[in-house]
């Protein structure tokens, strides 16, 4: 059972720079070929400020919450169960996005092999003017530690 006192814990804002190379690598890893992710002229022609980050790119942003440490997981594993993003504007290379993460939920839920620990983390990203850029919410299942090698 994880510590429920962690619910509501909020991280300090961390600035994430959206780098061109990172956008290109991310799009390539997904097999996306649309030029707006690779070629600045194509992005500009589409009315964008820079290379367009693919929709799930905010999953790469870091916050100051190190989930494994915060939850004292030790050797226990994490499995991603659910993810959502809400977008308030496109995210482009050159953006500097301030990310704040909140531990929204720590709970025990019935699972196929007995009760399991579930953690929900919510992120919020803002641009340098303080405007909301995206919101994210992810649900992770905490798994038992692996057997000793």
């Amino acid at each position: 059972m994880l510590d429920k006192a962690l619910i509501g814990r909020r991280s300090e804002p961390v600035v994430n720079e959206v780098e061109k190379g990172a956008v290109r690598r991310f799009a390539a890893a997904l097999g996306i070929t649309d030029e707006v992710h690779f070629d600045e002229r194509a992005a500009e022609a589409a009315g964008l400020r820079g290379l367009l980050a693919p929709l799930t790119f905010p999953a790469t942003f870091r916050s100051s919450i190190e989930l494994r440490e915060a939850l004292a997981l030790g050797q226990r594993g994490l499995l991603h169960a659910d993810q959502s993003f809400e977008y308030f504007r496109p995210i482009c290379a050159g953006d500097r996005i301030q990310v704040v993460a909140v531990i929204a939920e720590v709970a025990e839920r019935p699972g196929a092999t007995g009760p399991m620990d579930v953690v929900v983390v919510e992120d919020e990203g803002r641009d340098e003017q303080g405007n909301l850029v995206y919101r994210a919410r992810k649900t992770m299942i905490v798994r038992p530690a692996p057997r000793e090698a």
Binding site: A22, R25, F26, A28, A29, L30, G31, I32, D34, E35, A42, A46, P54, L55, T56, A59, T60, G77, L78, L79, H80, A81, D82, Q83, S84, F85, E86, Y87, P90, R143, P144, P146, R147, E148, A149
Partner: protein
Amino acid sequence: MAVARKLYYENVRVGDELQPLLKPAIDRVTIARYAGASEDYNPNHVDEDYARRSGFPGVFAHGMLAMGYLGQLCAEWVRAGQVKRLQARFVKIIWPGDQLTCRGRVTDKRREGGEYYVDLEIWVENQKGELVVKGQSTTRLFHSPEDEDRQRRGLSPLIVEDDHRPSLVEVFERELPRIEVPPRPAARLPPRNAKPRLGLDDDEDALPAAKKPPTRTAAKTVKAPKKK
């Protein structure tokens, strides 16, 4: 490069299906590339030994790889429109060798103020046709070329009041072919020498009075006089 034809709200119908997105089979290199690009080095995805000791048959793909594919599906569908929301639930583990297909369908369209939204139901299937990821998306489109032109010129959006709502007949015609009728279980014949099967009502009469559901008993007492 050919200019992609644009998608407008006025041309979208509830029930429309998105062009399926077929992805190449996933291998360990696909997974490693995604781990690097996303800086997600969860050992279940990259460390075969760790994955086995954690009770899995081996490494498996990040759910976010498949969600990335769903993002691609939606982005390619909306073209110049915007994806406002993307959600995914990871239903089944994706293994090396799996070949994924992303699919989607329009579930709703609506105007809110001067903005036109289209909701999608989206999902990912593996090569066996099993559901591996299930999700939803909300997209925003221009109503029509006229609406786009106005907004690009800085004018107020076009407000179209009479959005076409499909009639019940249209909905039935669209949905009926999709409703799968489960095969009927083979009729179980009574053994040859069995007594003729009693009707449901007769069966209930055979129960002790106390076990009868009170509502049915009440209904019967009302019905009884009619049988005369």
